[in-house]
Amino acid sequence: MERIELTAAWAKGQEVLAEVTKESGVRASKCYQCGKCSAGCPVAFAMDKTPREIMRLVQLGLMDEALQSHTIWLCASCDTCSTRCPREVDIARVMETLRIIAKRKGSVAEKKMDLFHDLFLKSVENNGRVHELGLILGFNIYGMQPLKDAHFGPSMLLKGKLSPLPHTIKDNGEVKKIFANVRKRGGKL
């Protein structure tokens, strides 16, 4: 295994670490590496690093490794970890912040997931609400898996669960403005 040169890594990670600390409001040093978060995380089985290991990377300032991990994308935001952490570390919030920063830096390990969220928000911005059929179709087309979940389509339409037309709110100006205002304040949407 490659040896990490810690002093250099620490210096290099400072800027991003400061961002994470500021935006998440979580001081990584609080974590005492007990692993209770990972032990209860329902998605840990699929992760490349356990949530505790993400906290460790952040503690040591190894930010590139944290930002490039699949873990931060696989996290389901279920809050199990934050609920049980004995040191009151809001790990779910750290995951969230790391995702936001990864996106900002363009180092996204799970491109497809990221695509989905973009489409989702586009749908919200355009229609005020999410158009599920449009979203799923769009996602599957952009995501190069046109037939995924297609078998649900017909029965969903029949059951009145999917509407072929988007639900929109009459005057979507307000929602569009919210997006615009967030962008004005530096939000990268």
Partner: protein
């Protein structure tokens, strides 16, 4: 006319190398009040002291300034010196011209001399206002009180009694013994707890100097060091201790069963009971809340069968007041209420238990006769999981501190699982293994090396039942992988916490406790058994999590402190204390909460004003409690409080002397 004598010391060359001592002595002659001033090579040496004594006599000096080393070094010396020269010891002031002057300014003799002159000037100004103070004495009641009859209380009582002093031990429960009585074997040697505790319990019970007052609680504490007046409530036992022979017939015949607290409710006891077989006193008590006679007036079987007529339903609580010279508090600990861990299902899953439950399962006279069996179905567990730091080191749900004993007792439990159950597995989830102590780490190492317990570094996140198994989810943080164990039983090493009524007792006796309600020692390193309240000492786990060796050591230390106090007939009191000028005290009470020793209260005085008697409130300083910090003097807006020897006037005189 006040006549001050000033004595400047050279300390060989320690002072004179940097300070022109003759010049300082010369300068001092011009200070107001100075009648005599001189310098000498070694003031503290025999001839130096003689010089002072002679000058007192010949120059008719009535107060003295010695300018030399730090008063922290020689103030007692010179106080004794002027006392033997015929002056009151408190008519001395010292100017520190060595540590605070010559040694720190070796290269600037001119300014060091100016500074030394200033310091002497300040001391002279102060000593002009000094008053003779007398050390008074208070008599000491030669009887000690120990509150709590666990191992710490027992040890303290024995040590005090062995020096010939009388000790009363007040124990809340029907028997002494405390938690140690519930523990089966003790680390690090694995000797049987009862085998080492029972003899001590018997010794303390039979000691001619010890009075055991069991099933009793402290009701009120008044007074202070040397003379505490303590009111004790002796709860109605419903059994006459003198008449009862402890034959146990009543217990056998009593029809009422109640879950036994001692057995962690895994076994029943009767309504008339002794908590455990080796209880001391080994005589029963009636639990009135559950006894049929007290609930419905019917039954009375125990009374009928008692051959000595010892059962007495009419007994009432009795209040007795006794005076003690010193108090040892040894009230021990409780266990953390782990039911806050919903994710561990404590209380929901029968086979998730605490370490203390496990001790009872190990014990030959416990609910399973010493066979480790599951509480749910009595099966012998093959896979036992231990979880450490439950409630400890957990700010979110428990306590931030480490409970100190659980790493060791969990190692003990894991060892015993492997020893007692063939082909069993003991898994221990831990965050750290903390085993500082003689033989402790070796014990832990044996647990893994010799007994093959499997230690997994990580905290458990969830336990749930699946069929008759308990599924335990953890992370092996050393591997970085989530792990799962199918367990038959889970033992939680729950935190040691302060007794529920710890704060109440501390307030009653009058000493302080920390945010976790453990009692606060006077100094964490150098006064670990004293409290801030003179005459009150601490022993055992009431001061913080502790194992048996530490509790015993602390108990013996507290006993020495008590004996030191009781070995004297009377106690000198320091005269540097606060005093109230009742004439100008407005009775506002601002000073009362400021005093860290609760030495001030308000009293009512009668006065005759214009021929009429009026009563009003004024502050009153308890000279036994005041330690002379002076905080109250600053709180008083009327300047009615003043600290003797450091009066407002004295300090202002020093300030003026320096500035003008």
């Amino acid at each position: 006319m006040k006549r001050v004598g000033v004595f400047i010391c050279h300390c060989g060359t320690n002072i004179s190398a940097a300070v022109d001592c003759e010049k300082v002595a010369e300068n001092a002659k011009s200070f107001p009040g100075v009648a005599y001033s001189t310098d000498y090579k070694y003031m503290c040496a025999e001839p130096g002291q003689e010089l002072i004594k002679k000058a007192i006599k010949e120059q008719k000096l009535d107060r003295i300034v010695v300018a030399s080393c730090s008063p922290r070094m020689h103030e007692p010396t010179f106080r004794r010196c002027i006392e033997s020269g015929g002056l009151n010891a408190y008519l001395l002031e010292m100017a520190n011209i060595r540590e605070h002057c010559s040694w720190v300014h070796p290269d600037d003799k001119e300014r060091a001399t100016i500074k030394a002159t200033d310091l002497v000037k300040m001391a002279v100004a102060k000593v002009m206002q000094n008053e003779a103070l007398v050390r008074s004495t208070i008599p000491i009641t030669k009887r000690a009180l120990v509150i709590g009859g666990g191992i710490a209380g027992i040890q303290a009582a024995l040590d005090i009694a062995n020096t010939g002093h009388i000790v009363d031990v007040v124990e809340k429960e029907p028997s002494i013994g405390g938690r140690m009585a519930q523990v089966d074997k003790t680390f690090p040697t694995l000797d049987c707890s009862a085998c080492i505790l029972t003899p001590k319990m018997v010794d303390v019970a039979n000691h001619p100097n010890v009075n055991l007052i069991t099933y009793s609680e402290i009701e009120k504490v008044e007074g202070y060091v040397g003379n505490f007046d303590v009111t004790i409530r002796k709860k109605a036992r419903s059994v006459d201790l003198k008449a009862c022979t402890g034959c146990g017939t009543c217990i056998q015949k009593c029809p009422t069963k109640v879950p036994s607290e001692f057995e962690m409710e895994m076994m029943d006891r009767k309504a008339i009971y002794t908590p455990f077989p080796q209880a001391i006193p080994n005589k029963p008590v009636i639990d009135r809340e559950n006894c049929r006679y007290f609930k419905s007036g019917k039954c009375g079987v125990c009374q009928k069968v008692c051959p000595t007529n010892a059962v007495d339903f009419t007994q009432e609580d009795e209040l007795v007041t006794e005076r003690y010279g010193a108090i040892v508090v040894a009230t021990g600990f409780d266990l953390f209420d782990e039911s806050v861990y919903g994710e561990y299902g404590y209380g929901k899953y029968k086979d998730v238990i605490t370490g203390l439950h496990f001790e009872r399962l190990l014990n030959a006279s416990g609910p399973t006769m010493g066979k480790i069996k599951r509480p749910s179905d009595g099966k012998i567990p093959q896979n036992v999981v231990f979880i450490k730091c439950v409630g400890s080191r957990d700010e979110a749900k428990g306590k931030a501190y480490c409970s100190k004993t659980c790493c060791m007792y969990t190692a003990k439990h894991a060892t015993l699982v492997r020893e007692k159950i063939k082909d069993s597995n003991a898994y221990v989830f831990y965050m750290d293994v903390r085993t500082p102590g003689k033989g402790y780490d070796e014990f832990y190492t044996r647990t893994t090396d010799q007994y093959g317990a499997k230690y997994i570094r990580g905290r458990v996140s969830k336990i749930y039942e699946k069929g008759d198994k308990l599924i335990v989810w953890g992370e092996d943080t050393l591997l970085g992988r989530p792990v799962e164990i199918e367990a038959d039983m889970v033992v939680l090493a729950t935190a040691m916490v302060a007794k529920a009524d710890a704060a109440k007792l501390a307030q009653m006796v009058g000493f302080s406790y920390d945010q976790n309600h453990f009692y606060t020692e006077a100094h964490p390193k150098l006064a670990p058994v004293e409290t801030h309240t003179a005459g009150v000492f601490l022993a055992g786990a009431c001061q913080g999590p502790k194992d048996i060796p530490e509790s015993v050591a602390q108990a013996s230390a507290a006993a020495v402190k008590v004996c030191g106090l009781l070995s004297k007939e009377e106690m000198p009191t320091e005269p540097i204390i606060s005093a109230v000028n009742e004439a100008i005290c407005s009775g506002c009470g601002m000073c009362v909460p400021v005093c860290p020793y609760t030495a001030i209260d308000l009293k009512v005085i009668q006065e005759r004003i214009h021929g009429k008697t009026v009563s009003r409130k004024v502050a009153n300083v308890n000279s036994g409690l005041c330690q002379g910090c002076g905080a109250c003097t600053v709180a008083c807006r009327s300047a009615a409080l003043n600290l003797k020897h450091f009066t407002n006037e004295q300090i202002l005189a020093e300030v003026d002397a320096l500035c003008l």
